[in-house]
């Protein structure tokens, strides 16, 4: 830790921010290994912000840093600015729980709780002091939002683990929607899924992008091509290039971007 400047504790309002989330000179270490270097990026509402890059590049680390899920990991050290609505997420005194409520996350492997389907949807609403009817409303609304309502409406009390993996992933998204976040982070949400479920999730993202700020990590270049609006290419902890999808695919500024997006045998 020595030699690295200490984390700025005061959270300056980022000037003229339109984007909900902005990073500026954001660095992350795990113990003594720097995993993210000088990340500068902003995520805009109404777009699907898609992060791509080779394995181990730091994509997961970055989006997990946004809602401070990485806090619990041993040796995690941040430095620089990462702001949500102009407030530094890592400022002292920040209520982590509030940040997490505003910035939902969906992981690669769907992780439903060993409870019923409706309990899963309601899980983020603790402590639950609403009537049964209200509960049902929430469950119905969110399951409809992820197009799961038809498939499960007749068995809301079944254990969530009895769903297929693809359904579970959509349930995870519904669960996140239920806490009414402003940003949704998705870390390779389709990589564990079969093609049909993948397509369902992709369509869901297109549907959600107007209402939420979506940040979406993928390994799959084809998928990025299909649904991304803004593309951010991260490699070895640095943003190599970012911008409009078409620009990156058709006229990348960097050779590495071109190679990664087009050549299967990219070494990056």
């Amino acid at each position: 830790m020595t030699g690295k400047p200490a984390l700025k504790l005061v959270a300056p309002v980022v000037s003229g921010a339109t984007a909900l989330i902005e990073a500026e000179k954001f660095n992350v270490w795990f113990h003594d290994t720097q995993v993210l270097k000088d990340i500068a990026v902003s995520f805009d509402k109404g777009l699907i912000n898609c992060i791509v890059g080779p394995s181990g590049g730091g994509k997961s680390t970055f989006i997990r840093s946004i809602n401070r899920i990485n806090d619990g990991i041993d040796g995690f050290v941040v430095q620089g600015e990462l702001s949500f609505k102009g407030r530094n997420i890592y400022a002292a005194g920040t209520d982590v729980t509030q940040i997490r409520k505003a910035i939902g996350i969906v992981f690669q492997k769907p992780c439903v709780f060993p409870k019923s389907i409706s309990e899963n949807v309601l899980f983020g609403l603790q402590p639950l002091r609403i009537t049964k009817l209200e509960k049902l409303c929430v469950v119905e609304k969110q399951l409809k939002a992820v197009s799961l309502w038809k498939e499960v409406s007749h068995r809301l009390n079944d254990p969530a683990t009895s769903l297929s993996i693809g359904q579970q992933q959509r349930l995870c998204i519904a669960r996140t929607l239920a806490i009414n976040p402003e940003v949704i982070l998705l870390d390779e949400p389709t990589s564990a899924l079969d093609p049909v479920s993948t397509r369902a999730i992709e369509e869901l993202m297109l549907k959600l992008k107007d209402r939420y700020t979506l940040v979406f990590v993928t390994h799959n270049i084809q998928q990025a091509k299909r649904i991304a609006d803004k593309l951010i290419f991260i490699c070895e902890g640095q943003i190599i290039e970012q911008g409009d999808k078409d620009k990156l695919f058709n006229q990348p500024e960097h050779e590495r971007t071109r190679i990664y997006l087009h050549d299967e045998y990219c070494e990056c």
């Binding site: 619990g72 041993d74 729980t97 992981f107 983020g124 996140t176």
Partner: protein, 301 residues
């Protein structure tokens, strides 16, 4: 009839295979026989008491000179001491396990756990010494008792003795809950205590139950420490819940009296019967714990 059921054990070719297999089989047989032998020996030597005393064994007066061998006082003592021990050790141990597994950095978890396991390493005769020299005196002063050698003292001492078991196993149980569940719950904006109460504890509950049962067995079977502090009187207190009086457990009775009896006498037999009762209780607990514990699965299968 479907195909051929394949033998699970692949064919062994060399003679070393046969010797190896014989060795493995024999050692397994030896250990199986030992357990049966223990149960059998205890049963045979308690038979005289079982067959002649019958229901009289379950009365509350123990007076060998008059041929009275009621074990209720000892049973009561054993159960009471165990209940006290668990009532103290479970909350204390689980809270500490929550600390080591949920709040402590991974780096320190190991060290702190090791330190707490030192508690488990202290031989029970030393617990007995400390119990007589300190705990019983303190308890006597604190509650203004005639004597600090009470069921409560033994229970407290036992609680301390089983604490490491509960902490270590509880910590393991909590730690076995995959991190992704915690992260998913955190990602939904739950406070740490809500994550623990709603996700971690329910997911770990079977393993925790196993830990508690194991601790229960330990507490039931502990001898030396209890024997030195419990007071050694074969009486059930007039008020069943009065725990600040001396008593006797099965183990302390055995430890004190078994050598004084003549081998194979009725007195001896009745004592062995108490041992058998203890063994049966502990084995039943084990069987229940086994039912709770998940069978050990081979990784990656």
């Amino acid at each position: 009839m479907k195909g051929k059921k394949l033998s699970v054990i692949p064919v062994m070719s060399a003679w070393s295979n046969r010797i190896g297999r014989a060795y493995i089989l024999i050692s397994t047989l030896i250990s199986a026989i030992i357990i049966l032998l223990i149960a059998l020996v205890l049963f045979i030597y308690s038979w005289e008491a079982i067959s002649q005393q019958r229901a009289d064994l379950f009365t509350s007066i123990w007076n060998p000179a008059a041929g009275q061998f009621g074990i209720l006082a000892m049973l009561y003592g054993s159960l009471m001491v165990t209940v006290i021990a668990l009532a103290i050790a479970i909350p204390l141990g689980l809270a500490t396990a929550l600390f080591t597994s949920e709040m402590l950095g991974v780096r320190y978890r190991f060290h702190v756990k090791f330190l707490l396991e030192l508690l488990a390493g202290i031989p029970s005769v030393l617990y007995g010494l400390i119990g007589v020299a300190f705990f019983s005196v303190w308890l006597g002063d604190l509650f203004d008792l005639q004597s600090g050698r009470t069921i409560l003292t033994a229970g407290i001492l036992l609680a301390i003795m089983v604490l490491p078991t509960i902490i270590t196993l509880g910590d393991d149980a909590l730690h076995n809950v995959p991190r992704q569940y915690r992260e998913a719950a955190q990602g939904l904006g739950l406070y740490p205590h809500e994550v623990i109460i709603h996700i971690v504890l329910p997911l770990a509950k079977t393993d925790i139950a196993g830990a508690v049962l194991l601790a229960l067995g330990r507490a039931l079977g502990e001898t030396m420490a209890v024997m030195l502090v419990i007071g050694g009187i074969d009486k059930i207190p007039p008020s069943l819940v009065n725990i600040m009086v001396p008593g006797q457990t099965i183990t302390s009775k055995l430890g004190r009296e078994i050598e004084e009896t003549a081998f194979a006498s009725m007195h001896f037999s009745a004592l062995i019967f108490m041992g058998l009762a203890l063994l049966v209780m502990v084995l039943a607990l084990t069987a229940i714990a086994q039912h709770y514990f998940r069978p050990g699965l081979r990784l990656y299968e």
